[in-house]
């Protein structure tokens, strides 16, 4: 019994990992530029607002508010006007919005299941980033990346601040991650 407890305690001590070395383990599938510039535009403002509200809810482990932000985001996508874009961009944008809408919808339908909401949030985050590259943004955003999420496959998210507040782990590992890219407005 004593041996078992000793074994458990020493395993516990080993299991505390050091986050300071995590930066070098930052593997994601493509090389990411340190900074990109996008056009200044208000067109995606409501989408960005609701995405950030969703992100903040996930940081706070608030699944219910994540669901309601997901619904608002879904509605915002439905109303989004792409007619001002070029034909080629319209095609790309409608594919992004089609995909992003589904993720927003799933998030809105899964209040109480934050794990499932986070799965959809991960892909949604990529969609939103791709969206604002085309439409432009009304504010500077930072893309952060947590290498541990989803069995070390990693997950990224967008934020208005460089300060890391992890939406995938919430307060279980609030500071896990680092800024990969700055998306600034021309």
């Amino acid at each position: 019994m004593i041996l078992l407890s000793l074994a458990l305690v020493s395993w516990g001590a080993f299991a505390q990992h050091d986050h300071s070395k995590m930066d070098s383990k930052m593997t994601n599938k493509s090389m990411v530029q340190a900074s990109v510039k996008v056009n200044r535009s208000q067109s995606a403002s409501i989408i960005i607002d609701n995405y950030l509200a969703l992100k903040d809810a996930l940081v706070k482990e608030d699944s219910k508010n994540a669901a309601s932000s997901g619904k608002k985001l879904f509605d915002a996508f439905a109303k989004f006007d792409i007619s001002a874009q070029t034909k080629q961009q319209q095609k790309e944008l409608s594919e992004i919005i089609e995909d992003a809408s589904e993720h927003a919808e799933h998030i809105s339908e899964n209040s109480g299941n934050i794990g499932h909401q986070r799965e959809h949030f991960e892909i949604l985050s990529k969609d939103i980033k791709d969206l604002i590259i085309i439409t432009g943004s009304d504010r500077t955003l930072y893309q952060a990346f947590c290498p541990m999420y989803n069995n070390n496959e990693g997950g990224a998210w967008l934020s208005t601040s460089k300060e890391i507040k992890n939406p995938y782990f919430g307060n279980k590992m609030l500071k896990c991650g680092s800024v990969q890219q700055e998306i600034s407005v021309k």
Partner: protein, 148 residues
């Protein structure tokens, strides 16, 4: 005790009346070129797994059991099929945008790994549709090879 007989009679009439409502018809005789198994040249054994465990709710062709003709069971089935196809339709997978295909692959992998799919209520009745731990591993490994 007469009211018990009355209630019983009313129920019987209602149930009989329900049977006059049509049941679903999610069926097609052709396999479109956009079908997942076709576009990805899925290996035979895995294709069979998909047909048995997934395609009844997630394609344009459902193999309806005899009891699907009995209401309200028929409605319940149609509900499952409708929702299933909305979320993922293997018959139309090849026509999805590349972005959407990747999203669906991620969801498939996650749901199969977590044991969320196939639905327990489905495999309870369809024993052959059950996926063993090894089945799940094989399926997930295969799906990961298609991921970008």
């Amino acid at each position: 005790m007469k009211w018990l007989k009355v209630i019983g009679l009313v129920l019987l009439v209602v149930l009989a009346g329900l049977q006059f409502f049509p049941t679903g018809s999610n069926q097609s005789t052709t396999v479109p070129s956009s079908d997942f198994v076709k576009t990805h040249k899925v290996p035979e054994r895995l294709a069979q797994m998909l047909y048995t465990s997934c395609y009844n709710c997630h394609s344009n062709n459902t193999n309806y059991p005899w009891y699907s003709r009995v209401q309200p069971v028929g409605w319940l089935l149609e509900n499952h099929i409708h929702k299933g196809k909305e979320d993922l339709n293997f018959s139309e997978f090849g026509a999805y945008s590349s972005r959407k295909q990747q999203s669906k692959l991620k969801s498939m992998i996650s749901q199969v790994e977590d044991g969320e799919m196939p639905l327990a209520s489905y495999t309870f009745i369809h024993r052959k549709a059950r996926l063993s731990a090894e089945d799940r591993e094989n399926l997930v490994d295969y799906l990961k090879t298609i991921q970008e």
